[in-house]
């Protein structure tokens, strides 16, 4: 069911999941999932809400450990590695959290400067310049002395993007970057993600459920549902796979009825009301 079961260690893949099983409590989120995310491209991970897309990012970042299987990031086995190497790896990752996760007691400029101060011995003047440069890249140079509470949702997300980029990461992870955005700021974000990826030769992973928007910037699409990969490839390839996979067709077309909402189709209402079946 997974088209690419990577057995050879191809250096073209930035992230590889091999037979990953992950459960939270009694709920199984991934069962034996494998995927590979190519280096230097924008990969979009799609799927309905609650399919563990955010969990996928947490696995990649080493914040969660799978019950079984391996998670490889740039050749490093994230779930086995010692804390020091994990932190070294994270220094090369940038994460854009769902609501930005800006530090509320610091200004926008200080937020962007934070990773620089934490991990470099640069002098203040140089840090100031890097901060201005990063804020310019997301179009927020004028807001550097504002506090996160004074920003709109879209601005906060762009500020968080500037912070995530501060250390010039090799890998950018975006967690639902379009959630709750108006069409204009969504367009701005889409362009930014694509442009940053190409200009800085990044590898980008975008987790979202906005099918059309995501498809427009994706080099590769992976569709998750029900704890497994139901589609994978370039946007066109994925669209072509819908014939074979009814769940994929339902998700891509946004149908209310289909195999994906099986849990909505419960016993008849009358039964829950205690009226009993008609005999």
């Amino acid at each position: 069911m997974t088209p690419e079961r990577s057995t050879r260690a191809d250096s073209a893949a930035m992230i590889e999941l091999e037979g990953v099983t992950f459960a939270r409590g009694a709920q199984t989120i991934f069962s034996d999932v494998s995927m590979s995310i190519p280096r230097g491209q924008v990969t979009v991970v799609l799927g309905p809400s609650g399919t563990g897309k955010t969990t996928l990012l947490r696995l990649v970042g080493g914040q969660e450990r799978p019950a079984r299987g391996r998670v490889l990031v740039d050749g490093v086995e994230v779930n086995r590695v010692r804390r020091k190497s994990l932190y070294a790896l994270r220094r090369r990752m940038g994460v854009l959290f769902q609501n930005g996760a800006l530090f509320t007691d610091l200004t926008v400029g200080e937020n962007v400067a934070f990773p620089l101060r934490a991990h470099s011995q640069l002098d203040e003047e140089l840090i100031r310049r890097i901060v201005l440069f990063k804020l310019e890249a997301v179009g927020l140079r004028a807001a550097r002395d504002k506090y996160p509470a004074e920003l709109s949702g879209g601005m906060a997300r762009r500020a968080a993007l500037a912070r995530a980029m501060a250390l010039d990461p090799a890998l950018m992870l975006y967690d639902e970057p379009f959630a709750g955005q108006d069409p204009i700021s969504m367009g701005v974000l889409l362009r930014l993600i694509r442009r940053l990826n190409d200009a800085l030769a990044l590898t980008s992973v975008v987790v979202t459920h906005d099918v059309k928007e995501a498809m427009s910037i994706a080099d590769k699409v992976i569709v998750l549902a029900g704890g497994r990969v139901i589609g994978s490839g370039t946007p066109d390839e994925v669209l072509a796979q819908r014939e074979a996979e009814p769940a994929l067709a339902q998700f891509l077309d946004g149908n209310a009825e289909g195999p994906l909402n099986a849990d909505d189709q419960q016993a008849p209402l009358a039964e829950d009301l205690g009226l009993g079946g008609r005999s």
């Binding site: 970042g61 914040q63 932190y87 070294a88 994270r90 220094r91 990752m93 994460v95 959290f97 769902q98 609501n99 996760a101 800006l102 530090f103 509320t104 934070f114 990773p115 934490a118 991990h119 250390l167």
Partner: protein, 262 residues
């Protein structure tokens, strides 16, 4: 019969939850212990937290200390007057405060004023993914967020308790000597004769240091473990105040029994 069984099993579940809670807090304390001294590589972070926890609690502590001293002076005068022993008012007020009321009341007020704020702040940082963001920036939140707040509370509580006691004794002096006319010389003289720097002042300070450690641990733990929702945060702050207060009073009994008992 089933109601009884239900009640017993509910009790069992409560007991299991309590043990699990204590266990996870102990594990958390171990993780915290590892970063306690590395935290001091950024002394400014600690200073910031002493400010937030200690300096900002100063007003409530001083006002409360003054009132407690005034009340002790009044009540003590009325009781001692029955035994013709009002000249002992100073000792009574001073020893009550230094040994007992200073450390305990200051700790309870601190838990309500600053402990709950620490919990709320950490829980909010967790809810808004700021802690996760720190982790993903390869910055250890234990060291950067939890450690400084623990130290801030630990340092603040004994200092606040000392100021509470001192202001309280002055309050007792105002009521006893200035208002009720107890002899000034015997007020201070009896304190000087009966209050021991080690047995009373130092042991009182030791108590408040222990209270500070307990409140600090509970406050940061409850925040760190809070469920990342609005109601989870509310529950965590309440839990901090309740647990801290009970822990302070229980620990106070144990420490008093060891220090002054027998």
């Amino acid at each position: 019969m089933t109601a009884l069984l239900d009640a017993i099993s509910r009790l069992g579940r409560l007991a299991i939850d309590a043990v699990a809670h204590a266990g996870s807090m102990a594990l958390f304390a171990l993780r915290l212990a590892v970063v306690l001294f590395p935290t001091w590589s950024r002394p400014r972070d600690v200073a910031q937290q002493v400010y937030a926890a200690g300096v900002l609690s100063l007003v409530i502590i001083l006002v409360a200390g003054g009132f407690v001293g005034l009340v002790l002076g009044l009540q003590g005068y009325n009781i001692l007057n029955k035994f013709n022993a009002t000249e002992s008012l100073g000792v009574m007020v001073a020893l009550s405060l230094v040994r007992e009321l200073g450390p305990v009341v200051a700790a309870l007020l601190f838990a309500g004023r600053a402990g709950s704020a620490i919990t709320a702040e950490i829980a909010l940082m967790k809810t808004t993914e700021q802690l996760a963001a720190l982790e993903m920036m390869a910055v250890d939140p234990m060291r950067r967020v939890i450690g400084p707040r623990f130290w801030g509370a630990l340092i603040s509580v004994p200092l606040l308790a000392a100021m509470f006691s001192m202001v309280g004794i002055i309050g007792g002096y105002l009521i006893g000597v200035v208002v009720l006319g107890v002899d000034q010389a015997s007020f201070w003289g009896q304190i000087r004769e009966q209050m021991d720097p080690w047995d009373d002042v130092a042991e009182g300070a030791l108590k408040s240091l222990a209270f500070g450690a307990v409140i600090a641990l509970i406050s940061v733990y409850e925040g760190y473990r809070a469920e990342p929702t609005a109601s989870g945060m509310a529950r965590a702050t309440t839990q901090t105040v309740v647990l801290s207060s009970l822990a302070v009073l229980g620990l106070d009994f144990v420490m008093t029994a060891f220090m002054f008992g027998a």
